[in-house]
Each structure stands twice: as structure tokens, then as C-alpha cells.
Amino acid sequence: MNQTAQIETHEPPVNKMALILRKEWMELRQERGLIIGTVLPPLFFTILPVLLAWAVAVIPHKAASALVQSPNLGPDVKIGGTGTAAPIVSAGGLQGLDTQAVEQAVIGSQFSILFMLMPIVVPAVIASYSIVGEKTGRTLEPVLATPIRVSELLVGKALAAFIPAVLITWIGASAFVGGMALVALSPRVVEHIVTLPWVLACLLCAPLMSLIAIGLTVAVSSRVRDPRTAQQIATVLIFPVMGVLLGQVTGFLVLSSAFVLAAAFVLALAASAVIWVAIRLFRREVILTKWS
């Protein structure tokens, strides 16, 4: 009997992207340091504002004010008076709230923008280890020797970083909203934080920024040997987000729905461009002959 025949299969084709995704997660599962490094910053971003808002509610007002030194509460919010539970003089949507509730609203709205950092930080860590790890472990050549397409490989790896990043962001944002609802002195505090622009930013901008971070990490990882270098370069994306945060804190920028939708459009274009470049840079030939 001739045993050299290839395996004949009548089964559905193997989904190679899903296979890569599963393998990546199996490997990540064993990397405790990486898991801690991935989960800790989002946990910090989620818990800190809730703790501060809680502190504002339970600690006497003077001490609480010292905790939160906010020079500007946005274009339509001003704290009126200096005494305990001083009424708001002028605050769009926050009229009638006492100072502590206003401070909670301020803390919540300022920290809410930090949820735009999570989709950048989380995939940068995972994706850089994922690509550079293949390089240092010399595992990429046997993978590229299989009939897998480069796009399947990259999409599988990108999903392995994208899915946890977006899930962590959304879970963190939900926990943040839930926590703020628990400690808020008034339901209007939560209404002030969970605005349509913020929800849109979480749903649209966060995944897109995650894609950009992954694309940038893959592109950079194709040229460096150290995962930390790839991470550091990819995290330059933090600066625009910090700019938005600063603009909001100083009252220079108002996060409106129109602004978020426009930002999402720009981010979508940027994500497409970065992913296109990443795939172009990630070529079998270059990887096998230059990676050594």
C-alpha cells in the first residue's frame, strides 16, 4: 500500500486564525507576569476614581477638597461658595447639587477619559510579546513553513491582543460606572459622567485605538528584538489621549458626540493605514533573512 498519500479530509477546513488565537491565549495563560502587567493598570484606572469619589462622599468636605484640586470643572460647571455643602451657582445639569456631589461628578468625568488609555496599553503588552516572542523563540520559521497566509497569522495574533483589550476596557468601564453609581451622592452625578459622547468613545474610539496600537506594535516588533522596545514605541499613542484629557481638564476641549464621531472617523483611517503598513512590513522573506 502506498502510504505517501496526503491526508484526505471531508471535514470543514481548519480556521487558522482561531487556531493562532487559541495558541496565543494558551501561551499567555502560562505567563503570569504578563497577565498581571496586563490587568493591573485597568484595575487601577477602574478602582481609583471610585475610591476618590467615595472618599469625597465620606470624608469631611475640607479634607475631601484637598484630595481633589480641580482648577476647572468644565465649561458649564462651577463650584459656588466655600462652605460645606455650598450650592452650585452655575452648573449646566448639576444645579442644586452640593459641592461633594459636584466634586464626584468632576472626578468621574475626568477619570472616564482614562478608559481610552486601556485599549492602547493592554494590546501593546500582549502584541509585543506575541510577535517578538516568536522572534526570540525562533518559532516563526516553522509557522511560516506551513500553508498559513501572513494575513491569517497576523489577524490571529491581532485578535489575541484586541479581544482582551476591548473586553477589559468595556468591563472596566462598566465596573467604573457601577462603582460610581454605588458611591454617588446623587443619580445626576452618574448622568454627568455617562454621557452619550463617552459611551460612543468607549464603543467606537476604544476598539479603533486598540487596532492602531496593535498595528503599530506589530510594525515595530518586525524591526526590533526586545518586546519592551515595541511596547514603548506603541505607547506613544498615549500622548494624544493625554492631550484630550488635558484639554478637558483645562476646559479647552468639550467631548461632544460630533467630536467623538469625527475622532472615530480619523481613527478608523489611521487604523487602516497602520494595519496596511504592518502587513507590508511583515514578510516571510524579511523575517527569515533579517531576523537572526
Binding site: 505517501t4 491526508i7 525562533r138 518559532t139 520559521e141 513553513a145 522573506e285
Partner: protein
């Protein structure tokens, strides 16, 4: 199925302006073990990478497993198995998890891959360690697991790049056994190595290569043909005393004898003696040994030589290899065919 598993025509690869492989024209018949021999840096790995559709040639053409390189690369990747220069395994995953992952990349479903993984893990004597993470494997175990990976999708052609490099003798034995099994199954093995004894044991055909293909032949051809390059005559006692008798024959090109004396040299400096040859052996080089060997034996017998054995004198692969690469081969390192018909292979290499 094509008659040749691998066909190349003037296959060439440059890195910048430096040639790594030049004008490689080669046919490897289906179902054979082909030894691709060359020193480090000769371009063996580059050749394997081109033939397994990992990198493109600069010029030239090739067909692998019946598929055209460049136009049908995905088909080539599907039908060949590759043991790369480094095992390249996921060390946090177990041996079995590694195999099932790569089987999936080759399009083999998990249901089909599990029994195949068992078959090859047992062949490589790794079945009992299958659930351990690869980080706990020795170098030899990793190499054997990487060979399992190259075989799991039942490829027609298997490229093995230095499969026993750095392995202990037991691990090397297991790998050689597996290569013989592959040939028995009708698969083609392209064995890139610089291990001469291994090539002599395993290969049907050998190509000696250093950027260019210097020679390609069967082992018999490389050794000097069916009748060899001369004759070995074993006599009782010291063979050196018969050197002058043999040297006097006009058809003899060269003769050497074992010399285990105090100074290791014959009184006549023109006569070769060798302390490595078995005592009593005369290595006689001549053209057309099939014609002149009877006359040689007659002459020695007439002179009173107590002849114990007569057999062909053949080149070792190593001596041919070194000669082709421009090194000084030790002309006395010969591969004799012993009276019981078994090959005696030099330990060096």
C-alpha cells in the same frame, strides 16, 4: 505522482551581492533519501528554505512534490515537511499541544491529528512525555519533537536540516531509524548534513555542495563504482613485506600497507604505510580492478603470500567530500568491505 520529488534548474539565491546558492541543478527521485552535504555556510539552509517555499530564489526554477516554486508555493508548503535549523517550539506548551497546533496550520483536523501525533511521538520515543511542557525537554527531545512536527501532515517530501546535530548517540539513533521508516513508507527525504557517516548509512544519493553543486551521485558511484578504486588484499602477518612485490606490477597506481612498527615507516620512502589500517591489509589502487585483481592475487600467491581475503577498495564519502572541497584527503582512509559483507565505517566525521 512525479518521478522526481525535487527538480531544480539553475536555482540561485543572492543576499545583496553575495551568492549563497548558485546554479543548483538537481533531481531527487521520489521515495529516496538524498544527502545534501556541505560545510557550514555552504548554502544548505538557504537551499532548504527556497525548496520549502520560505524564501524566493533570485533566479532559476524548481518543482517540489510536483508543484512549481513561485507559482504554487502554498501547495508546496502543504506537501512538504520541514525540520528547520532550530527546533522552534513553543516551550510553554506541551509536546502534544505543539503538534496539534502545527497540524491545524497544515489543515489537519484535531480528530485526524491525534492518532498521527501518537504514531510519531511513539516513533520518536516521546509518547510518555507528551503532556510535559517543552521547556522541560532536553535538546534531543526537542529535536525529535520538531521532526514529529515535520511529519504529522504526512508530507510527500521531508526536508531535514541537520537532524542529528548536537544529539547524543541514542537520540541520533532514534532519528536515523525514523528516516529509514520514512523511506520505507515511500516518502522522499532531503537530508541536509555534514555528518558523513550518517549520510553513508542513510542516503541513496548524495550531492556535495558548497554554494555550487560539486558532485551528485549514488554512494556506490562516489565510492568508485561497483568494483571500487582498487583491491584490498589481507595476508597473514605483516603486509609491509609484500609491498615491493605489488609495486612491481605495472597496472598498480599506488599501494599502501598497514605498518604498526616502531617508527611507523617503510625503509623505502616512496612506499606508503599506514598505522590506521588493519594489520595485514594491502590497499592496492589500480584502474579496472575487475580486470587486474586476478593477476594481483596470482602474483602474490606465487610469491608465497598467505592470502586471507580479497575485496574491493572503495573511497570513503569523507575522502571524496574533502577532495571536492579542496582539502587534502587522507588517501589511506578507505572503506573496506569486510569478509562478512558488512561495511566498516570510519568513526570520524
Amino acid at each position: 505522482m512525479p518521478a522526481n520529488a525535487v527538480e531544480t534548474y539553475e536555482l540561485t539565491r543572492f543576499f545583496d551581492s553575495r551568492p549563497a546558492v548558485e546554479d543548483l541543478t538537481l533531481n531527487v527521485p521520489q521515495g529516496t533519501v538524498f544527502g545534501f552535504l556541505g560545510p557550514n555556510g555552504a548554502g544548505k539552509t538557504t537551499t532548504v528554505r527556497m525548496l520549502s517555499a520560505l524564501i524566493d530564489p533570485t533566479r532559476g526554477t524548481a518543482r517540489v512534490a510536483g508543484y512549481e516554486l513561485g507559482r504554487e508555493n502554498t501547495q508546496i508548503r502543504r506537501h512538504v515537511g520541514v525540520l528547520t535549523e532550530f527546533p522552534g517550539l513553543y516551550v510553554r506548551l506541551s509536546g502534544l499541544e505543539n503538534l496539534l497546533f502545527f497540524a491545524g496550520l497544515y489543515g489537519v483536523s484535531r480528530r485526524q491529528a491525534v492518532p498521527l501525533a501518537e504514531k510519531y511521538l511513539r516513533l520518536m520515543e516521546l509518547w510518555d512525555r507528551r503532556t510535559e511542557p517543552v521547556s522541560a525537554y532536553s535538546k534531543g527531545m526537542r529535536q525529535r519533537l520538531a521532526i514529529c512536527r515535520a511529519l504529522l501532515h504526512q508530507p510527500q517530501v521531508v526536508f531535514l536540516d541537520e537532524p542529528t546535530s548536537g544529539l547524543d548517540p541514542e537520540a541520533a539513533r532514534i532519528v536515523r531509524h525514523a528516516i529509514k521508516e520514512l523511506r520505507a513508507e515511500g516518502r522522499t527525504v532531503f537530508l541536509s548534513t555534514h555528518n558523513m557517516p550518517e549520510a553513508e548509512i542513510l542516503c541513496d544519493q548524495v550531492g556535495i555542495f558548497s554554494t555550487r553543486l560539486l558532485r551528485v551521485d549514488t554512494l556506490t558511484g562516489l565510492r568508485g563504482g561497483r568494483h571500487g578504486i582498487g583491491t584490498i588484499v589481507r595476508v597473514r602477518g605483516d603486509a609491509v613485506r609484500w609491498l615491493d612485490t605489488v609495486r612491481a606490477l605495472e597496472f598498480v597506481r599506488d599501494v599502501s600497507a598497514a605498518n604498526h612498527g616502531a617508527n611507523g615507516a617503510h625503509p623505502n620512502p616512496d612506499i606508503h604505510t599506514d598505522t590506521h589500517m588493519p594489520t595485514g591489509d594491502l590497499a592496492v589502487r589500480m584502474d579496472q580492478p575487475e580486470e587486474y585483481t586476478p593477476l594481483l592475487v596470482q602474483t602474490l600467491a606465487a610469491a608465497g603470500a598467505p592470502i586471507l581475503y580479497v575485496g574491493p577498495l572503495v573511497n570513503t564519502l569523507e575522502s571524496v567530500y574533502l577532495e571536492l572541497l579542496g582539502h587534502n584527503a587522507d588517501t589511506n582512509e578507505v572503506l573496506g568491505i569486510t569478509p562478512n559483507g558488512r561495511e566498516s565505517i570510519p568513526a570520524s566525521g
